[in-house]
């Protein structure tokens, strides 16, 4: 996408706010016309004073004076009072218009950004899981926060700054040339130099700004790593090593930043020099012409005042234009996300609940082309049955679960739920029928209760309690300082891995889905609690089809059917008793884990034997 297209894109997103933006710019133009009238008033007043009784004002000045002072006389005093009142009134009117500008541009820019934020938020949630796999969280977050901020500042400040500089020039130039052509040319003498110098300078230091940002980010990351790992730091008594590491980053940020500020110092010194020399030039040349009599003192005053008003925004332009360039880039990065296609959403939605029959038929799947994760998988589960999936890491266990959730689209083979092809069902419908619990579940930073209610928003208190009891987490929650109202996450209670898993399980149970998937979901739960949970799951067994993915034999052995995966293919399939008899992976696992269990059995028998006697 080239810059022009990016700018066009930003333009598209301003629809609905263009009117109010125009009002802001028109108000600003009117405001500056009034603002520029003020030095003219002072000019007439000074000339009137200077020339004393010989001063012959234009007829409109006289008319205005009569109007303002309300007296029929038009002496010097009347001129002065009229000038003073006009100065205040004109400034106040200009102020009023500038206020309108500020208000309108705020509403417009904040409104546009609000819409953009909501759009990207909603878009992110509807992008397919495969997109989130590919993209880096930090990078996405940066697009949503700092890139968005860059665009916001552009809309709120830089557009206004640019229009301000342009409007100022447009309105002031006619006045200057009307006052005195020689002085007008002279007051523009250094402006091109100033403008070009500013733009060139800020283009040059653009990279330095980036370097400073990067070194700050490195410093922050080091700090954060130290603080999150403080227990490890202490455990190895590495305080001085850490301090050294941080010092280096801290000093690096200081030095880069100082270098940048130093360069800015040089730039501002030079540009101040140019600006003030420009005013000095006007003063001396003007003074010479006043001496000749070809310029009045009032004119000189007006020129110096105008120059002071317009030269500083020009000096500022370099910075503004560079930042605007950044805004275009930022907009491009936001547009990139918005341009990604979202998940398909127009499949059918049968509306009645599923019974829970699942059939995989020769399903193959790959996340990246050429690296198949599932090969020709076929199996089926009857409603209410329990299927256990076992296999070494990377054998494709979780992929089966993800496909069932329609988080990914399969292209080879067929998956049918209740005899309907999965890919013809709407994602929302499928997901409302399946609940999944992951090994490292995600909990929202909200209260425990709110996290549970994610399962079903209108669940009654009794249903919540039933779910937490079934997941064996109720007692732990009762132990939290604010029980069910405790906040989860950094600002509240810190949950152990097992507690997180059980909370996620309770959340899933609350959903009462026809299909429940536990993806290694009890790995951090101790065996005591695990057997408790499995028992309560068994009680609810008739209600749902269950898929359990696990490492421990104890978890999987009671399933109706066990599927052993290896390198993406079904290596073994059957009940525990059959598989334990057959040569293969399952029996090997039984032997490893069985050795431990045999030991336990032997111990127990031994001691029970002793007790008998």
């Amino acid at each position: 996408m080239n810059d022009k297209n990016k700018a066009l894109l930003l333009w598209q997103h301003t629809s609905g706010y263009r009117g109010i933006f125009s009002v802001a710019i028109i108000a600003m133009a009117i405001g500056y016309i009034f603002m520029f009238a003020v030095p003219l008033v002072a000019r007439f007043a000074i000339d009137a004073i200077e020339q004393g009784d010989t001063f012959v004002p234009p007829s409109w000045v006289e008319a205005m004076t009569r109007l303002i002072t309300g007296s029929t006389e038009s002496g010097l005093l009347q001129y002065l009072i009229a000038a003073a009142i006009a100065t205040v009134v004109l400034t106040a009117i200009a102020g009023l218009f500038l206020y309108v500008r500020g208000r309108c541009s705020a509403v417009a820019s904040e409104g546009i950004v609000r819409r953009l934020r909501e759009r990207i938020y909603s878009h992110l949630e509807h992008l397919p899981a495969s997109y989130h796999d590919r993209s880096d969280t930090g990078d996405l977050l940066q697009r949503c926060s700092s890139d968005m901020e860059t665009v916001r500042v552009f809309l709120a400040a830089q557009i206004i700054e640019i229009s301000r500089a342009l409007l100022m020039l447009i309105t002031v130039l006619p006045i200057l040339f009307a006052l005195d052509i020689r002085m007008a040319w002279l007051s523009l003498a250094t402006m091109p130099i100033l403008f070009i110098a500013a733009v060139v300078f800020f283009q040059r230091v653009k990279n330095l700004f980036l370097t400073v940002d990067e070194s700050e980010a490195r410093m922050t990351t080091t700090l954060q790593e130290n603080l999150t790992g403080i227990r490890v730091v202490r455990a190895f008594a590495r305080q001085s090593y850490e301090t050294e590491k941080f010092s280096a980053r801290n000093a690096e940020f200081r030095d880069e930043n100082q270098k940048l500020i130093g360069l800015l110092g040089i730039y501002y010194a030079i540009s101040d020099f140019i600006c003030l020399s420009q005013i000095g030039l006007l003063l001396l040349a003007g003074a010479a012409w006043v001496y000749q009599g070809s310029l009045t003192v009032g004119d000189l005053f007006a020129f110096i005042t105008y120059e002071g008003m317009i030269i500083w925004p020009i000096r500022h332009m370099g910075r503004v234009l560079t930042d605007s360039g950044k805004a275009i880039v930022a907009m491009g990065r936001i547009a990139e996300v918005l341009g990604e296609p979202v998940e398909s959403q127009n499949e059918t939605d049968p509306r009645q609940p599923l019974s829970g029959h699942i059939a995989f038929d020769n399903v193959s799947f790959e996340y990246e082309p050429g690296r198949p994760v599932l090969r020709d998988i076929s199996f089926s589960i009857e409603p209410g049955q329990t299927l256990a999936i076992l296999g070494p890491p990377g054998s494709g266990k979780s992929t089966i679960a993800q496909l069932l959730m329609r988080l990914y689209d399969y292209h080879q083979g067929s998956i049918r739920i209740d005899d309907i092809e999965l890919s013809t069902l709407s994602r929302k419908y499928v997901r409302s029928q399946v609940a999944i619990v992951l090994q490292e579940p995600f909990l929202y930073s909200a209260s425990v209760r709110a996290n549970l209610r994610v399962g079903r928003i209108n669940a009654t208190e009794d249903e919540v309690l039933a779910a937490t009891r079934a997941a064996a987490i109720h007692e732990s929650i009762e132990g939290f300082p604010r029980r069910y109202d405790s906040m989860v996450g950094e600002r509240g209670v810190t949950l152990s891995g097992g507690q997180r898993q059980r909370l996620a399980l309770a959340r899933a149970l609350l959903k009462k889905p026809p299909i429940l998937i536990l993806d290694d979901a009890l790995s951090a739960v101790d065996t005591d609690t695990e057997s408790q949970i499995l028992t309560s799951l068994a009680e609810a067994r008739h209600a749902q089809t269950t898929i359990i993915i696990a490492h421990r034999l104890s978890t999987v052995m009671h399933a109706d059917k066990i599927l052993v995966l290896n390198e993406g293919a079904v290596a073994q399939e059957g009940g525990h008793d059959d598989l334990a008899e057959t040569d293969g992976i399952y029996r090997n696992l039984c032997e490893i884990q069985g050795a431990i269990q045999d030991q336990i059995d032997a111990d127990v028998r031994e001691f029970e034997h002793e007790r008998l006697f």
């Binding site: 977050l141 227990r231 110092g265 997901r431 994610v454 399962g455 959340r507």
Partner: protein, 625 residues
């Protein structure tokens, strides 16, 4: 990312509002110490501020002289004289501006560096109890945005204070010098201007803070939506999340529009007040010119000054408001830098460490550098007095003993270990190492003899090699590989694309939970500690891997004290002694056989895990359906 931590959402009891009235000068004096350690730079900065103000005041005076000469005296203008005078001040101003930005920048960056360095150093000393109540995000906010805000005040605020005061004083003197009565008339606007500025600046700052706060919540919300996208999809929460996000963006919209409206009101008000001053100067000055008491040039100078003096007032009002608002930050930073760790070496230990090294083979605190016995006598511990976690625990651990600790969650297992590591100290009773109370020994000595593998193992960003080497910084590559072999991490490491030089990502994000644990295990192996601590260290590895680790473990535990907290009892069968801890007390102790004999809690836990137990359950499973 820094705006992510610019976060005032962490409620920590320091209420911003309570600081808004009145200034805690003592606080600022302490912080000013950071500025004053750069005396030379601060002095140059002050001089530059003054010369900047002086040159700015000089220009209207030169203009006045020029106009008077051409308009009044009728004499030809001495271009060289005025030209070089004017350019001299231009040069002075340019040099001063360059100088104050340069030195101000130096001061600002150095001050923030120094505050951060002190803060960091103290954070490394503070006890774990300090961290228990302060989330990482809170600490990050203090160390990043608070420090930046304060160093801005301490450098640029100081500059503007000197510049603004000189400027206002200079303008006032110049006006009164030119004409006392006209000067007083024009200056009469100043009190109103100052009052309005202060009011508005405070208002604007407060709403700006609201904007920042909302902004960081929006960033947090984006973060959550990205991290939890699968869960959101799984529970079909998209619409609801968007609704929640919508209220946030609404808040953001009204907060930032309010902030801009305040600014849009302030500027016209100030401009109009400036116009009043100009108007007054015009009427009274004009009359005086006609009467001949002042010249036209003086009038022009007055008009120029009337336009100029609102600038320093605006700046000063802004800094004053900023300082009032930043007092809470100042307080928090000071407390971060000055809080004393609850656990630290006693004065006696420090003096012994400072004493010249004695005989070889002694630890840095003068005692023997070995641990033959750890003895807990009547040890109790409570985070809050009404909820004791450990009650009157007696325990003796001898050199080479492998201790396993089992019991329910929350029973006090981790606390016992934390006390032995002296991450916390007992609230009653004592812990003795070879007969000496460990409070009489060096903290650093004890903790550098520890090796710890935690339940959720923290991995630092960087390569796998760097992470393992954290255990012993001077270890050779060969040592690292050996340690990884013993921890059974070697195989998966070499299978990775770049082997030991693989970048693990921030917080080890590119590794699985099991891999992280194996690496932290290798790290502890490399440290070759006198005391090895493992806290449920094998919970996330699959059975096959766990088996491998255990083989290495047996070798590793030999000859040193070890404390292993584990849920899977099969993993600790070989321990020399097993402690069963429930409700803060050791209820059973002994080796596996002894405890099985007792038929108590351990026996129950152990049999629960047995295969036969599951057979019984499977019957209940089937009968349930």
């Amino acid at each position: 990312m820094s705006d992510f931590f610019d976060d005032e959402n962490y409620n920590d009891g320091f209420e911003e509002d309570s600081y808004e009235h009145g200034m805690n000068l003592d606080l600022w004096r302490r912080l000013l110490g950071y500025t004053l350690s750069y005396r030379v730079e601060a002095s140059i900065l002050g001089v530059c501020a003054v010369t900047t103000a002086i040159s700015e005041i000089a220009f209207p005076l030169i203009t006045r002289a020029v106009i008077d000469q051409v308009a009044e005296s009728g004499a030809a203008l001495n271009y060289w004289y005025y030209g070089s005078l004017y350019m001299g001040f231009v040069a002075l101003l340019a040099v001063s501006v360059g100088g104050f930005i340069w030195f101000g920048g130096k001061l600002r960056t150095h001050v923030s560096h120094d505050i951060r360095a002190d803060g960091f150093a103290n954070l490394q000393r503070l006890s774990f109890s300090f961290y228990d109540f302060r989330p990482v995000g809170w600490l990050m906010a203090r160390m990043t945005s608070d420090v930046e805000r304060l160093s801005n005040i301490l450098a640029w605020g100081l500059l503007d204070l000197i510049w603004g005061c000189t400027m206002m004083l200079g303008i006032a003197v110049a006006m009164l010098f030119m004409d006392v009565s006209l000067g007083l008339i024009v200056l009469s606007v100043i009190p109103v201007l100052a009052w309005i500025s202060l009011k508005f600046q405070r208002m604007i700052l407060r709403s700006a803070r609201e904007v920042r706060k909302t902004n960081s919540r929006i960033t947090g919300s984006f973060n959550e939506s990205i991290m939890g996208v699968r869960t959101t999809k799984a529970f079909v929460k998209e619409a609801e999340n968007l609704k929640g996000f919508g209220t946030l963006t609404d808040t953001m919209f009204s907060a930032s529009v309010l902030n801009k409206i305040q600014a849009a009101l302030y500027l016209p008000l100030v401009l109009t007040l400036g116009a009043v001053a100009s108007g007054l100067a015009l009427v009274f000055g004009g009359l005086e010119v006609i009467w001949g008491t002042i010249t036209a040039g003086t009038l022009v100078a007055f008009l120029a000054y009337a336009r100029h003096f609102f600038e320093p007032i605006q700046e000063l009002a802004n800094w004053f408001a900023e300082m009032q608002m930043a007092q809470a930050s100042a307080e928090r930073i000071i407390s971060l830098i000055e809080s004393e760790p609850e656990i630290q070496d006693s004065a006696d230990v420090r003096s012994r460490i400072a004493a010249p090294a004695g005989t070889a083979g002694l630890a840095l605190d003068g005692y023997h550098d070995r641990i033959e016995q750890i003895r807990l006598e009547g040890v109790s511990f409570a985070y809050e007095p009404e909820h004791p976690v450990l009650k009157n625990v007696d325990l003796t651990i001898n050199q080479g003993e492998n201790i396993a600790i089992v019991g329910s969650t929350g029973g006090g297992k981790s606390t016992l270990v934390n006390l032995i590591c002296r991450f916390y100290e007992p609230t009653a009773g004592s812990i003795r190492i070879d007969g000496v109370d460990y409070r009489e020994r060096s903290l650093k000595w004890l903790q550098s003899n520890l090796g710890i593998v935690l339940q959720s193992s923290h991995i630092f960003g960087g390569t796998i090699r760097e992470n393992i080497r954290y255990g012993r910084l001077d270890a050779s590559d060969q040592d690292v590989t050996d340690a990884a072999r013993r921890a059974c991490a070697h195989d998966f490491i070499v299978a990775m694309e770049k082997g030991y030089d693989t970048e693990v990502g921030e917080g080890g994000s590119k590794l699985s939970a099991g891999q992280k644990q194996l690496i932290s295990f290798a790290r502890a192996v490399l440290a070759d500690p006198k005391i090895l601590i493992m806290d449920e260290a094998t919970s996330s590895v699959d059975t096959v891997t766990e088996k491998q680790i255990q083989r290495g473990m047996r070798e590793l535990l030999r000859g040193r004290i070890s404390l292993v907290i584990a849920h899977r009892l099969s993993t600790i069968r070989d321990a020399d002694r097993i402690l069963v801890i429930e409700h803060g007390s050791i209820i059973e102790a002994g080796n596996h056989d002894e405890l099985m004999q007792v038929q108590g809690r351990y026996h129950r836990l152990y049999t629960q895990q047995s295969l036969s137990q599951f057979t019984k359950e499977s019957r209940s499973w089937q009968s349930a359906s």
